[in-house]
Each structure stands twice: as structure tokens, then as C-alpha cells.
């Protein structure tokens, strides 16, 4: 019975140690190889205070915790802002340093021979209560503002606060709305690079629309599209300007698109405006015909 009691006590002590590792590795994703060294600090501080100084056990535990925290802070200060590899390397080095330190301060710590004669206060009940308390503490910490910050730091910066969740939800709604507007709802869960070229173009337009522009600027939206796709694009752009009602500035040389939807056309030739007008006026304009088709007609 005695054996099992001490076995369970040791297990519970390990549980306490693991809760500490959980905060470091589980929540923030930092790999500390120095957990045992911090345990050693706690053990030696408490032991020395009880045996050599004669402090009461509980006070020594409190001081031991404070000192481990302080040392942990100092070790973490320069390292946590660096790559995660540094945490492992530095805590590993820290372990070596602690061993050296404990071996050197033989008069206080007993050196390599160990430190004995500490009154045995660790009962099964105490270990159980402490372990449960630690687990409770850690789960509270995890849910607290700081715990969420740790999780956020692990995943790369942004806090999953209520406000952010709300904003994310709003963003998602906007995206889905415009995906619907351009008619991509059937492909909602597809990755963009898997879509055919024509649909990718629609997606680009949807992306521009999510910013809710006053003027939509399209630079050769029909480039590389086949005639069917151009026709669909023409319909889409026409519908957008009717439904949402913003101005669209379009640069394009596919005439079926330009002539299909434009209200007013500026024709450029070598950087100079040669004609301005409605599609009908432009079709009749001799300058435009000359620029587009050459002067063959006159010769004939």
C-alpha cells in the first residue's frame, strides 16, 4: 500500500510538472528543455530554506515558486522573441548551467552527493490537491485573456477576440455575397487555382467588388478569354453596372465587349485620343476605322 501511495504521489508530481510544459509547449508552441532545471531550482530553494534557514514549509514553497518564476523570466526575456529553436537551445544550456551551479555550491546544496534531510511533507493528499489545483489554474489561464494571447502567439499574431470573430464573420458574408453576384456559388469550396481561366477572371472581379468600389477599373478583363467567355463576361459587367450601379472604366481591345456594354468610348491610337463618343458614333468615325482597319477601302 505504501508503495502504491508513493507511486501515485510521484505520478501526481509529474502531472504538476507537465501542466507547466503544457503552458509552454501546448499553448505557445515553445519547446523548453529546461523544465527539470526549474523543478530543481524550486526543490533546492525550498529544501535549503527549510533545513538550513528553518523557515516553515509553506513559506519556503512560496519563495521557491517566486524564485523559479524570476529565473524563468530572466531566461525567457531574451529568447522568446527569437526563433523557437532558440528556446530549446537556451533552455538546454540553462540545464547545464544549473547542474554546474548546484555542483559548485557544495556547502549549501551538498553538490553531487545530493541534499538530504528534508522533512517529508509530500503526502498523497497534498500531491493530489496541488495537482488538481495546478490543472484548475492552467485551464483558467487557458481561458483567460493571457491564455488566449499565448494561443494567438503560437498561431502567428492575431487574437481570436469576440470583435475579431465578428469581423471575420462579416468578411465571410461579404465574400459569399459577391461570389454569388458573379455567379461562382457552385464553386464556393474550390481552390481558385483549380478554376478555369474564365472563372478565375470572375473571381478577380468579385475580389475587386468586396472593397465596394465607387468606380470599378478593369484593365483588359477579356484578355485570353475565348469568345463564349467574352460573351459571358460582357453580360456580367453589364449586369453589375445595372444592379450595383457604379461607374466602370474599362480598357479593352476586344470590340465585342467594348461595343456591347459601353456608354461612352475613348479611342486611343499611339497614346492620343482620336475619338470620343457612344458606340454608334465610334462605329461611324472615319479616324477610328482608319486606325483599326487601315485605308484600303478608300483605295478601292
Amino acid at each position: 500500500m505504501q508503495f502504491y501511495a508513493s507511486l501515485i504521489t510521484f505520478t501526481l508530481i509529474s502531472v504538476i510538472a507537465v501542466t507547466g510544459i503544457y503552458i509552454l509547449t501546448g499553448l505557445t508552441g515553445m519547446f523548453s528543455l529546461g523544465q527539470a532545471s526549474f523543478m530543481a531550482i524550486g526543490a533546492y530553494v525550498s529544501g535549503v530554506l527549510v533545513v538550513k534557514v528553518g523557515l516553515p514549509f509553506w513559506l519556503s514553497v512560496l519563495i521557491a515558486v517566486v524564485i523559479s518564476v524570476a529565473v524563468g523570466y530572466v531566461v525567457g526575456l531574451p529568447t522568446v522573441r527569437l526563433r523557437r529553436d532558440y528556446i530549446s537551445l537556451v533552455t538546454l544550456g540553462f540545464g547545464e548551467a544549473i547542474i554546474a551551479l548546484l555542483n559548485q555550491t557544495q556547502s549549501i546544496t551538498g553538490g553531487a552527493l545530493g541534499f538530504s534531510g528534508i522533512p517529508k511533507k509530500t503526502t498523497l493528499t497534498l500531491a493530489l490537491v496541488s495537482a488538481v489545483f495546478c490543472i484548475f489554474l492552467v485551464s483558467c489561464f487557458k481561458r483567460s485573456k493571457y491564455g488566449r494571447q499565448c494561443i494567438a502567439a503560437k498561431s502567428g499574431g492575431l487574437l481570436p477576440t469576440a470583435k475579431r470573430m465578428k469581423e471575420e464573420k462579416r468578411g465571410r458574408e461579404i465574400c459569399e455575397h459577391y461570389i454569388n453576384v458573379v455567379g461562382l456559388t457552385p464553386y464556393k469550396n474550390e481552390r481558385p487555382e483549380n478554376l478555369p481561366y474564365g472563372l478565375q477572371r470572375r473571381l478577380e472581379i468579385a475580389r475587386a467588388l468586396t472593397c465596394q468600389p465607387k468606380v470599378l477599373l478593369l484593365d483588359e478583363p477579356a484578355a485570353g478569354l475565348n469568345p463564349t467567355e467574352v460573351k459571358e463576361l460582357t453580360e456580367l459587367i453589364g449586369r453589375l453596372s445595372d444592379e450595383i450601379g457604379f461607374a466602370i472604366l474599362l480598357i479593352e481591345h476586344r470590340l465585342e465587349l467594348v461595343m456591347g456594354i459601353s456608354h461612352r468610348i475613348h479611342v486611343l491610337n499611339f497614346g492620343e485620343t482620336i475619338a470620343v463618343g457612344t458606340p454608334e458614333e465610334i462605329k461611324e468615325n472615319p479616324e477610328v476605322i482608319k486606325a483599326y482597319l487601315g485605308e484600303e477601302e478608300r483605295k478601292c
Partner: protein, 290 residues
């Protein structure tokens, strides 16, 4: 006296440089800290030791055998422990766990094989010290320094001047693109592990000669880690500079505060270094890639 310290510091630093370089090589190419490096050092040093006891060969073949053993074991270790992780490009956490497990395995092999005892290499040199006027250099220190320097220079030339070295650098820089350019990425990673293992073997033998040989000899790898942190994680030249600096600092510290406290101060110096110049001397790579 002070010049004597500097000489000893350089000798110590040169071994640290070997450790740090072997470590940096892997860090560069796979971007993880290879914690099995120290245990590999011990394992290959013990292989060298037993060969030397059985055969009575001189230092040079023993060093070569240890290097070869280290290289081959690292090569196998890469295949067993890291290949799958590399190919799947999963989280670096697995590298971390895998390398620590591999270290435990190596150390376990050594402990089962030799027990927890201390071993001494046979005496390879006739005279223990060499005198230059007033200065005394232990023969093993001198040989250690020269061999380390030669090995490091050869390695630098290899990395900078040869085709394979260029492949090594390009795979370190961007594995995917290097693969697209027709570089054999897996082969290059294996090569890096082989070289790293060979360096582990070399440093293991010298540490064994200079101190004693015991299953936890690999813990000295921490010095290599500290050296590469000071020099700048991921830079081989930085690792060498950091190691020499560390060797000098340690020798000074041993001289003034005693050998026991030296690791404590070394650690504090590293912390200060990280506070003041986290990039290290020649460092890149301090922030996690987004």
C-alpha cells in the same frame, strides 16, 4: 600567462567549432536543431576507441574510422528518423521529437555497450607537451587545433567551390526551387548528414582524448549549441567564430573563476548576447518564417 590562455582557448574553441559546424550544417539545410548530434559524437568516439584498443593503430586511422562511423551512422539516422518528415514537410515539431529520440537511442546503445564507466584513449603521442620558448602546449591540443582547422578549411572550400557544395547551399536556401533546378535534394540532405556525422566523429575522438570517454560525453554538444547561438544560428562561419570566442571565454573563465562555475558564466554570457545582438555575430534566421 595571458598568451598561454589564448593558445588554450583557441585549442578548445577549435573543437567547439567542429561541433557547432556539424550542428549548423543540419540546421541550415533542414531548419531544425539536431539534438542527436552530441550522442552521435559519443557513439562514434567509442567506435574509434574500441578499434584503437583492438588494433593498436595510430591516431590518424582511428580518426578516419571514427569520422567514417559517424558519417555512416548519421546517414542511417537520417533515413530512419528524418526522411519521412522531410518528404512530408510536416511540422518542425516532429524533427525536434525525432532528433531527441534518436539521441536517446544512441546514448542507450553506448550505455548498454560500455556501461556507465569512464574510458581513456591509449596514449597516441610520445611527449605530452610541446614547448615553444616559454609557452607550453599540450600535444593533443595542438593536434586538435591543427586537425580542426584543416577540417574546417576543407569544409569551407568544399561548400564554396565544388558543385556538391553549391548544391548544398542551394538546397539550404530553397529546397523546392533547388529540386526544380534538377538538384538531387534527398541526396544532398544525405550528404549533409554524412558530413555532419563525420564532423561529430572527429570532435568526439578529440574530446575523448582531451577529457575522458564516457556515455554522457555528448552533453558537451551544448557548447556547440551555445557557440552557434553566439555566432548566429544557421551560419557556418558564424558558428566557427562563435566557437573560438566561446573557447577563449571559457579558458579565461576557468582561469579566473574556476572550471566549476565556467558553464554558469558561459550561459549568462549567452543570455546577454541574445539580449544585445540576437542575430549572433554573423547571423540570419532569427525570426520564424511566416
Amino acid at each position: 600567462m595571458s598568451l598561454q590562455i589564448i593558445i588554450n582557448g583557441f585549442a578548445l574553441g577549435s573543437v567547439y567549432a567542429l561541433i557547432a559546424t556539424g550542428f549548423s550544417l543540419i540546421f541550415n539545410i533542414l531548419k531544425f536543431s539536431n539534438f542527436s548530434h552530441g550522442a552521435l559524437m559519443t557513439l562514434s568516439a567509442f567506435i574509434g576507441y574500441f578499434v584503437s584498443v583492438r588494433t593498436g593503430w595510430s591516431l590518424v586511422p582511428i580518426v578516419l574510422i571514427s569520422m567514417l562511423a559517424g558519417g555512416v551512422i548519421a546517414y542511417i539516422g537520417e533515413f530512419v528518423a528524418f526522411r519521412k518528415i522531410t518528404l512530408r514537410q510536416t511540422s518542425p515539431v516532429y524533427f525536434f521529437v525525432s532528433s531527441i529520440t534518436l539521441a536517446t537511442l544512441y546514448e542507450g546503445i553506448v550505455t548498454i555497450w560500455v556501461g556507465p564507466n569512464f574510458y581513456n584513449y591509449p596514449r597516441f603521442f610520445k611527449s605530452l607537451v610541446i614547448r615553444f620558448g616559454d609557452f607550453v602546449i599540450s600535444t593533443s591540443d595542438l593536434i586538435m587545433f591543427i586537425s580542426s582547422a584543416v577540417a574546417l578549411i576543407l569544409l569551407m572550400l568544399f561548400i564554396q567551390k565544388t558543385r556538391l557544395g553549391r548544391a548544398l547551399r542551394s538546397v539550404s536556401f530553397d529546397r523546392d526551387t533547388a529540386g526544380l533546378m534538377g538538384i538531387n535534394v534527398s541526396g544532398t540532405i544525405q550528404l549533409a548528414f554524412f558530413i555532419s556525422g563525420a564532423l561529430a566523429g572527429l570532435s568526439g575522438v578529440f574530446l575523448g582524448i582531451n577529457y575522458t570517454l564516457y556515455p554522457q560525453l555528448g552533453n558537451l554538444v551544448v557548447k556547440g549549441f551555445i557557440a552557434s547561438v553566439i555566432g548566429g544560428l544557421g551560419s557556418i562561419l558564424g558558428a566557427v567564430i562563435g566557437a573560438v570566442l566561446l573557447g577563449l571565454m571559457e579558458t579565461l573563465l576557468i582561469n579566473y573563476v574556476g572550471s566549476g562555475y565556467a558553464p554558469v558564466f558561459t550561459f549568462l554570457i549567452m543570455l546577454v548576447f541574445l539580449l544585445v545582438r540576437p542575430r549572433g555575430i554573423a547571423g540570419i534566421n532569427i525570426q520564424e518564417k511566416a
